[in-house]
Amino acid sequence: MDLIATLKALNACHGPSGDEVEIASTLARLSAPYADHCTTDTLGSLVVRRKGDGLKLLFSAHMDSIGMIVTHIDEKGFLRFGKLGGLHAPDLLATPVRFKNGVRGMVALDGKVTPKDMKLDDLYLDIGAKDQKEAAAMVQIGDTAVFDTQTVVSGDRILSPYLDNRISCVVLLLALERIKNTPNDLYFVFSTQEEVGLRGARTAAFGIDPDYGIAVDVTCPDDELNADHSGSTRLGGGAAIKIMDSSVICHPKIVDRLSNLAAEKQIPTQRDVLRAGGTDAGAIHQIRAGVPTGGISIPCRYTHMPLEMADLRDVEACVQLVTAFAETDLNEY
């Protein structure tokens, strides 16, 4: 499986929070050769199982992306939208967008508002419709749109929309391909609705009732220009072993195990302490009677902007770490 080709294939799919059917079916197709079993649960999460006799180990990477949802079509044919996940007005102006049915458009600003003061309510989508009737024939209220930007590679780095969290979906797919023998009962969850509050992972994890959980997600690094030290990682520093974010304090046993494994297999790692932002780990560790949970993160600059940036070497390190943890005997600690 080629990393970039797979990422591009995933980004061609529609899958904002609550509307993940298309991305789920593509992930099911890509996982099928390496899975014993693929199911979709009530909230739409894809559960890929590699059967084993041992303890249940759950890996979760959310497949939903942030996006826009149409709330109103005005007489000029302009669309007002609500946010699916963390959208910030200053990041959006003039961004190209794409609807599930292929309709294209762009984000524009109400002329009465100066860019300095703009809020999400001041933005609208222009899909090239000449009036309300024409717009209503192209999209309906409740339809969702995503960034329609391109994936490119520059040196060791990928610039792409939705590295949050399609790059982690790629990590799980590549690990699925590499895992040979495992004593564990493996569940790879591609979860829904993470961006609106870790909703899909919660119910998926309840259904699986795992012994251990690992969330794979991007993390905000501390190496952007004048970064404010709310994160601890840097691009190219290796797979980031999550210590905590605002949704979880990772189980020390998992942190140690991941660190020791990485040292043993010479996988480059760094420690991920994030003051803002949550991951599926936040939901997984609190289900039922509690699940020892950790996280493996890919440092990603400009998260939630129409283009995000990650380092290919970090991605590779994450694949190695996921593979190593999946193959380790969980009964031995």
Partner: protein, 341 residues
């Protein structure tokens, strides 16, 4: 229906003190219920067998509680300090009459005299800490004899009918949902239905968590009210929804995203049966669907709401035709789920 809404809105049921509402509903539901129980949190859960024995497959939910005030301190001169229970817009509080506790002790939300308000102060909204409740007590001891700390207060609000089928009352959120459920309970149903009259929705959908966990449904329909801003000077894209335009079928709110298959099904049912319907034109609010959806291994949820103006205010306004349409659409929904699963 109107009579039922009037009766239900007249009852007091601030979050966690839903007793009066629950007692009335129990009494009314008893002749029609197959099974009935009150859970640890206080949710009233009524099971009614239908034509098809589908067990716990379908849950209908509406909350019994309403927003209100709670007494937090009694001052030396006999005034009460208070906090809000649930989201209350403090712009609407000042000068409003209230009733405290089950004895319905009358009071009024007071503020310092207008001639003492400075020019700058007049421009800003008083904080809830600056307001007090006046129950006519002459000192602390008199006040203490009438109320205790933690006592709740509800708005003193007349229920009136005006305009074209409009009703104004306190607690329309969500006695409307309770009224729709109670009406359904009294009819023969096409499938088994579990009705959860929930507690503590207004303080964070707290009752619904437990109700959904114990019922363990596959599908849930939440019967609710939602904020309407169909008022002069509000831009069309910020009006959310409007009175008299039929049930609101939201595709999402701040608490949950509606199951897309159920959304399609509900809107198609409305079209097919020529029931007027609308969706929300702005994302605001949240309801019990948020808690129910995330229960156990997940529940597919959808909401039907009545558009209500001045939600969470002493007097809110709804349209009775919308409520009747909600009842009608819910009947069609039950038939569709019974028929097609």
């Amino acid at each position: 229906m109107l009579k039922l809404i009037k009766t239900l809105c007249a009852l007091d049921g601030v979050s966690s003190r839903e007793d009066a509402v629950r007692s009335y509903l129990m009494e009314q539901a008893a002749p029609y219920a197959t099974e009935m129980r009150v859970d640890a949190m206080g949710n009233l859960i009524v099971f009614k067998q239908g034509e098809q024995n589908t067990g716990s497959k379908l849950l209908l939910a509406a909350h019994m509680d309403e927003v209100g005030l709670m007494v937090t301190a009694i001052t030396e001169d006999g005034y009460l300090k208070f906090d809000s229970v649930g989201g209350i817009d403090r712009r609407v509080l000042i000068g409003k009459p209230v009733f405290l506790g089950p004895k319905r002790i009358p009071g009024v939300v007071g503020l310092k005299a207008y001639h003492l308000v400075g020019k700058e102060e007049e421009k800003s909204l008083p904080k809830i800490e600056d307001l007090y409740l006046d129950i006519g007590a002459k000192d602390q001891a008199t006040a203490q004899a009438l109320v205790s700390l933690g006592e709740y207060a509800v708005f003193d609000s007349h229920i009136e009918i005006f305009g074209d089928g409009l009703v104004k009352a306190k607690a329309l959120d969500d006695r409307i949902g309770c009224a729709v459920m109670l009406s359904l309970l009294q009819e023969p149903l096409p499938m088994d239905c579990t009705f959860a009259f929930t507690v503590q929705e207004e303080v964070g959908t707290r009752g619904a968590f437990g109700a959904a966990f114990s019922v363990h449904p596959e599908i849930a329909l939440v019967l609710e009210t939602t904020t309407a801003a169909d008022l002069p000077g509000v831009a069309p894209h910020k009006q959310v929804c409007a009175l008299g335009k039929g049930p609101v079928i939201p595709f999402m709110d701040n608490g949950s995203i509606t199951d897309r298959t159920l959304y399609k099904r509900m809107t198609q049912l409305a079209e097919k049966h020529h029931i007027p319907w609308q969706t929300k034109h702005y994302i605001a609010g949240g309801n019990d669907a948020a808690a129910i959806q995330r229960s156990r291994d997940g529940v597919r949820t959808i909401t039907l709401s009545a558009a209500v103006r001045y939600l969470h205010a002493p007097t809110s306004v709804a349209c009775i035709h919308d409520v009747q349409s909600i009842l009608e659409l819910t009947r069609h929904f039950l038939c569709a789920v019974a028929r097609e699963g």
